[in-house]
């Protein structure tokens, strides 16, 4: 009468599989592209009805795998001009020096049309543009760019470089754009 009710083998495998899948999902870097198009024709309210809202979560591992399947010949014609290659050391040394720079506001521009601020905050360069027709915020992972440029051959276009930078980006907003005609685009890292 004291028989114990154990979990079936199928249930255990299903549970382990689900847990593994969930862990893998959480461990992966995700990029989320979030696009809102607001109707601001009659109101300036940013919380007005949202006629269009698209949210696309995208695991970067998929992009990593996909780029591996692109044949090299595709990029044969897209070669970097030699003039750009000459500045490789300048670019790398400048980024290294930027990483060593203490946190501070580096550039501040005020014009009648737009304000631009560039801050260094840890390993991230924060760029803020407040223009009459758009507001842009961009968080550039300096360490990710350095790593990607160091690994790059400086000869051919390499899409993997972009994903290396994205992997290095901090969680949160990578880029946000809000235009006066109601388009809100956010690229978030998760």
């Amino acid at each position: 009468m004291n028989s114990q009710r154990g979990m079936s083998t199928f249930g255990a495998v299903l549970l382990a599989g689900t847990a593994g899948l969930l862990t893998a999902t959480l461990m992966m870097d995700w990029m989320v592209v979030d696009v809102h198009v607001l109707d601001v024709s009659e109101t300036d309210d940013i919380h007005a009805d949202v006629p269009l809202h698209i949210k696309v979560p995208f695991p970067l591992v998929i992009a990593d795998i996909a780029t591996g399947f692109i044949p090299d010949e595709v990029f044969e014609d897209a070669r970097i001009p030699p003039e750009a290659r000459v500045h490789k050391e300048l670019v790398l040394e400048t980024i290294r020096a930027l990483l060593d720079t203490p946190d501070a506001e580096l550039v501040k521009v005020r014009t009648e049309d737009a304000n631009v601020d560039i801050y260094k905050d840890g390993d991230t360069l924060r760029i803020a543009v407040d223009a009459d027709d758009a507001v842009v915020r961009c968080n550039v992972p300096i360490d990710g760019i350095l790593e990607a440029l160091e690994d790059w051959d400086w000869e051919t276009v390499d899409p993997q470089m972009l994903f290396d930078i994205l992997h290095a980006a901090e969680n949160g907003d990578l880029v946000t754009v809000a235009t006066e005609d109601g388009v809100r685009v956010a690229i978030k890292m998760w």
């Binding site: 300048l90 400048t94 020096a97 720079t101 203490p102 501070a104 550039v107 501040k108 005020r110």
Partner: protein, 180 residues
């Protein structure tokens, strides 16, 4: 109670002082440009090391590895180091005074600094003030082929006290370059 707060504040200040001093080791090059006509204001605040790194790695025409080609031509034989040494050893006083309808120019030395001032009397009515501490004279390094080591000059900013290097005011724009 007030006494306790006072003691705590004193301890906090004493503890924070060395940390603040250590944090101030970075020298910063500041450039502030104000354009009057378009109401544009640009402020650049960069660490000296970053500027030096860029300068030493730039390789373009007339500028290589921090050295700028002065393009003086072969017929001009100027002994810059000798001139610099003479200026450095000279006593305080007015060296050059030029007065004309277009502009007044003054070069004088005072309290270890060489001052160059230009007052334009027409067009943009620019007023230029350049302050050159004598320490910079030592850093002015001229190569054999009429090149000037700009990177070495900037490196010497590291030893300078905080203050203005260049100040330009005119009807069109104001520019201020200073080190801190």
């Amino acid at each position: 109670m007030k006494r306790k707060v006072l003691i705590l504040v004193t301890i906090a200040v004493l503890l924070a002082a060395p940390a603040a001093y250590a944090g101030d080791e970075t020298r910063w090059v500041n450039v502030h440009v104000t354009e009057n006509s378009s109401n544009t204001n640009v402020e650049v605040h960069l660490p000296l090391n970053l500027v030096l790194t860029v300068l030493r790695n730039v390789d373009v025409e007339n500028f290589h590895g921090g050295h700028v080609d002065l393009e003086l031509g072969d017929d001009m034989d100027i002994n810059f180091p000798e001139i610099m040494a003479a200026v450095k050893d000279a006593p305080d006083g007015k060296f050059v005074t030029v007065t004309s309808d277009e502009a007044d120019v003054n070069v004088h030395k005072q309290a270890g600094n060489l001052y160059v001032t230009v007052n334009q009397k027409e067009d943009e009515m620019a007023q230029v003030e350049v302050t050159m501490p004598m320490e910079l004279m030592d850093a002015l390094s001229f190569g054999e082929e009429n090149t000037l080591d700009i990177a070495a000059l900037l490196q010497s900013f590291d030893k300078l006290p905080d203050g203005d290097i260049v100040k330009v005011t005119s009807t069109e724009a104001n520019v201020r370059v200073w080190i801190e």
